[in-house]
């Protein structure tokens, strides 16, 4: 991706100066705090890579959440989708016979393939064929072929266990479908996103426990190299899956965690979507004024469905990476992650009222939360105190961005200036 794209990610409309710069100043302050308090330990490359690796997984739902919040929506189900995805992922890798995981995820994946095949063939055919009926038939054919191929491919993998590429496709497909389901209900049912995704939050965890079996048992992931002797009773996952938890290395030096590559790719992709595409512009329009968006020809229902679907897919991808990083799938893997995701988005300057926000802001929000946790860990601050501090930071960050503190301070010092007045008429 070009440099220009990265630089322009934060050029979104509607930002006051504090809103735009606040997150960066906050990040710089936290980073400086880390250097002052912990010095070399903090700056040590291993510590930095550790922080990056830890935040990269949780950052994926935050990136999806950014798009959702820009439409003035909210997605409370991301944590549950992470949990569900981690369970499904672990079972697909480790089991050698059809399970509840395959029964749920494979048909949905085949459906996704059907849809993808249809859209892809249609897009291609439209360039060459003008008759819409022939385009429709051809596209349906393309979808069926891709779906059939996918079904066969999945069938062949059940006896040998699913591969890394397979879980990287199948599990996000599950998230995509569940996200789309939330989106459709929100759009067509005209129900508050808070309520619908609250329902999905509960249902997805329930589904995760049901699939895991025995009230939500943990499904560990084993590798050949780990030296487990009980071959024949316990299967192993492919080594390539283990690589997801490793680092990108050059000449034996760890450069960057593999999970961070996913994170960076997601930030760039969503940044491009938000700043460069019609879909992205429509997200801002819906969040800014839904009625105007509708009257300007935005297909509001379709856009909403898609945005929750994308958020679900990113969450499920985070579940796969969680499974790799912690070598297990468990039905409480993503517990309270939705709150961290929302916190990162909000610290990054995206308005919960919708209509404005950037993914670079979210990137900074994720880094702020990550470094904060790291510094407090290095200082051996107890986790309960960390939670309190995190709460203070979240609220404080928003107070600063909204200019509230500045205004209170000015009033306190007797100045009669108001900061947020705008010329009207």
């Amino acid at each position: 991706m070009s440099e220009e794209t990265l630089l322009s990610l934060d050029r979104e409309p509607g930002h006051s100066l504090t809103r735009r710069l606040g997150p960066f100043i906050g990040l710089a302050a936290i980073f400086a705090g880390g250097v002052i308090l912990n010095g070399a330990t903090f700056l040590n490359p291993y510590n930095q890579l550790n922080v990056l690796g830890r935040i990269s997984i949780i950052a994926l739902p935050a990136v999806g959440m950014t798009m959702v919040i820009i439409t003035a929506g909210i997605d409370l189900s991301v944590g549950s989708l992470v949990s569900l995805a981690s369970v499904v992922c672990a079972m697909l890798l480790m089991e050698r016979s059809p399970t509840r995981a395959t029964a749920v995820s494979v048909p949905i994946f085949v459906l996704c393939a059907l849809g993808a095949g249809y859209l892809l063939t249609r897009a291609i055919l439209r360039r060459f064929v003008s008759d819409p009926r022939r385009v429709g038939l051809g596209a349906a054919g393309g979808g069926l072929v891709l779906a059939a191929g996918t079904a066969l491919w999945c069938r062949t993998m059940i006896p040998s266990g699913f591969g890394t590429l397979a879980v990287l496709l199948i599990v996000p497909g599950l998230g995509l479908a569940l996200g789309a389901l939330s989106g459709i209900i929100i759009a067509k049912g005209r129900i508050q996103p808070f309520i619908v995704t609250l329902g999905m939050m509960s249902a997805a965890v329930g589904l995760a426990k049901f699939i895991a079996g025995k009230g939500g048992q943990i499904h560990p992931v084993y590798y050949e190299a780990a030296g487990y002797e009980a071959a024949g009773t316990v299967h192993t996952a492919p080594a390539s899956f283990d690589a997801l938890s490793g680092h990108l290395t050059l000449f034996g030096i760890d450069l960057v965690p593999v999970t961070t590559l996913f994170f960076v790719a997601a930030v760039i992709a969503v940044g491009v979507i938000l700043t460069r595409t019609r879909f992205g512009r429509h997200l801002y329009a819906i969040g800014g004024n839904e009625e105007t968006a509708r009257l300007s020809g935005v297909l509001v229902d379709r856009v909403k469905t898609l945005v929750y679907a994308l958020c679900g897919a990113l969450s499920a991808l985070a579940g796969v990476l969680y499974c790799a990083a912690y070598t297990q799938g468990k039905s409480d893997a993503g517990l309270t992650w939705e709150l961290d995701a929302i916190a990162a988005v909000v610290i990054g300057g995206t308005s919960l009222m919708g209509g404005r926000g950037t993914v670079t802001g979210t990137l900074v929000g994720v880094l702020i939360l990550g470094y904060l946790g790291n510094i407090l860990n290095l200082q051996e601050v107890p986790s309960e105190v960390q939670d309190i501090l995190k709460g203070v930071i979240i609220v404080g960050a928003v107070l600063i961005q909204e200019g509230t503190l500045l205004r209170l301070w000015r009033r306190g010092t007797g100045s009669r200036r108001r900061t947020r007045s705008q010329p009207e008429e």
């Binding site: 409309p13 509607g14 460069r276 595409t277 019609r278 879909f279 512009r281 429509h282 801002y284 329009a285 969040g287 800014g288 004024n289 009625e291 105007t292 968006a293 509708r294 009257l295 300007s296 020809g297 935005v298 297909l299 308005s351 209509g355 404005r356 009669r416 200036r417 108001r418 007045s421 705008q422 010329p423 009207e424 008429e425």
Partner: protein, 503 residues
């Protein structure tokens, strides 16, 4: 005699930009003072200073000869100043009565809201305005014009000594305006001072004793309304002479562009009722087709139905250039060649946080895209073309659209639709809340568009405007067409007669 309100040498800046340069205003007790000027002249800013909204200004304000500095809207209210804003400030979910007494609810000794008392008083106030309304209804269910009356009722309930009305009539029907005028007269008789801001000079002459003219943040003239002519006022407002205010479009061409047959729209909230009922008409190439009618006559509902915004509630046939359309969504209508400039900029026109450019190109993005990616170069070019063509004053088009004045915002929204190259442009109250200069410009643009062959369907509650710029005028009453006039044969009286419901 000491004036009730004296403002002298008021200056005020927003973020370093001066909007008032020594404006002044003197109003006597029991006087109705008109305040006129183009958008951006500083009228609303000056009034917000009186109302305690803006507190960082320089200059002098005296109430009954006593210098005052109002530090908040509460203080202003306590000093007997009530302001009714151009953009209404009501809570849609609360009832009429709750809105009127918001923050000042009468309470029982136990501290609960005394609803019987509140509702009784609200009924009295609204009856005083000649509007017998169910005060327990949520305000959100009312049309804009009715909400305006509630705002006025709210100001009256505060026992205000100075009532400021910022564009009070812009959303009112002729009947409601008459009620408003009698209210203003009544206030004057009670010794209340009224400051009346309006772009409609006819109203100023009808209801005001004196008129203050502002231009570019300065007070440029004060006249008794009996001693000044309309032309002189306009000249002073714009700083130059106006040859002709209204601009008549060119001659319509013979071929029919839009044909509507038996268009009907059911009311989803009241089964069996129809918002518009079997409306048929034709619009020719280059024609401005006006729709007149009182509030609630179905003007807006008709345009929405044409635009596909009413979805499945609509039945009937719409033919564009002879092709029968079945429009179920605005997206389909836009693709077919319609554009709709809505009545309420704030509710359904602006995307407030989005840039000027983003707002301008919103409906035309499909033409600027390849594979879903927006071409920034083409977007910029398109925006600049229209910013230039419509002479929109936008210092930085990357800033949110809310940084522009009302007239310029409206021009951006017009540009949004011109950018889609519509065959039929539907304009719902296009001149509502914009100043004389911007209105004149808008007429010029409409005339240019019709000469290029565009068909325009336009609603307005300003009859002189309809009569001057339309070719034909259809009158609606309670959802039914009651008359169709050639504009040159119609008069305000004939239109009003057709618009009034038969009792």
């Amino acid at each position: 005699m000491t004036p009730r309100l004296r403002m002298q040498a008021i200056t005020k800046a927003f973020d370093g930009i001066r909007v008032l340069h020594g404006a002044s205003l003197d109003v006597e007790a029991g006087e109705v003072m008109g305040l006129v000027g183009e958008n951006g002249a500083g009228k609303s800013t000056l009034m917000k200073i009186v109302a305690g909204v803006h507190t960082d200004w320089d200059g002098m304000i005296a109430l009954d000869g006593v210098p005052r500095r109002l530090g908040s809207t509460r203080e202003a209210e306590a000093a007997g100043i009530a302001i009714i804003y151009q953009e209404l400030n009501l809570v849609g979910e609360l009832s009429l009565a709750e809105n009127i007494f918001l923050g000042r609810e009468p309470t029982t000794p136990a501290g609960f809201i005394d609803y019987p008392e509140m509702n009784t008083r609200a009924v009295e106030i609204m009856a005083g305005l000649g509007a017998g309304m169910d005060v327990t209804r949520p305000v959100g269910e009312l049309r804009v014009g009715r909400r305006q009356l509630v705002e006025i009722g709210k100001a009256l309930s505060q026992q205000a000594r100075i009532v400021i009305m910022d564009e009070p009539s812009s959303a009112l029907s002729e009947t409601e305006i008459q009620i408003l005028f009698s209210t203003v007269t009544e206030l004057r008789a009670r010794g209340v001072t009224v400051i009346y801001i309006s772009h409609r000079l006819g109203e100023i002459f009808e209801v005001c004793d004196r008129v203050t003219v502002m231009r570019d943040g300065r007070t440029v003239g004060v006249h008794a309304t009996g001693e000044v002519s309309r032309q002189e006022l306009i000249a002073q407002m714009v700083g130059r002479n106006f040859e002709q205010f209204f601009v008549k479009a060119g001659q319509p061409q013979p071929e029919t562009v839009l044909e509507v047959r038996d268009l009907t729209r059911r009311d989803p909230d009241r089964p069996g009722r129809r918002m518009i009922d079997r409306i048929s008409f034709e619009v020719r190439r280059g024609e401005v087709f006006g729709i007149a009618g009182l509030l609630g006559s179905g003007r807006t509902e008709l345009l929405e139905a044409l635009f596909g915004a009413a979805g499945a509630e609509t039945t009937g046939q719409v033919l564009l250039n002879g092709r029968c359309l079945d429009l179920r969504t605005p997206a389909e209508a836009i693709a077919a060649g319609f554009g709709l400039l809505t009545e309420d900029r704030k509710d359904s026109g602006l995307v407030p946080d989005m840039s000027v450019i983003g707002n301008l190109t919103l409906a035309a993005l499909a033409d600027l895209c390849r594979g879903g990616f927006i071409s920034r170069v083409r977007e910029q070019e398109l925006a600049e073309t229209y910013l230039h063509d419509l002479s929109i004053t936008a210092p930085d088009p990357q800033l949110p659209i809310t940084s522009l004045s009302g007239g310029n915002q409206q021009k951006v929204l017009l540009a949004r639709w011109l950018a889609t190259n519509p065959a039929v442009l539907l304009l719902d109250e296009p001149t509502r809340g914009i100043d004389v200069g911007a209105k004149h410009e808008l007429y010029l643009h409409l005339s240019r568009l019709t000469r290029a062959g565009m068909a325009i369907v336009l609603t307005s509650s300003e009859l002189p405007e309809l009569l001057s710029i339309c070719d034909r005028i259809m009158v609606l009453c309670e959802g039914r067409p009651t008359a169709l006039f050639d504009a040159c044969e119609a008069t305000q009286e004939t239109i009003l007669a057709a618009a009034a419901p038969a009792v």
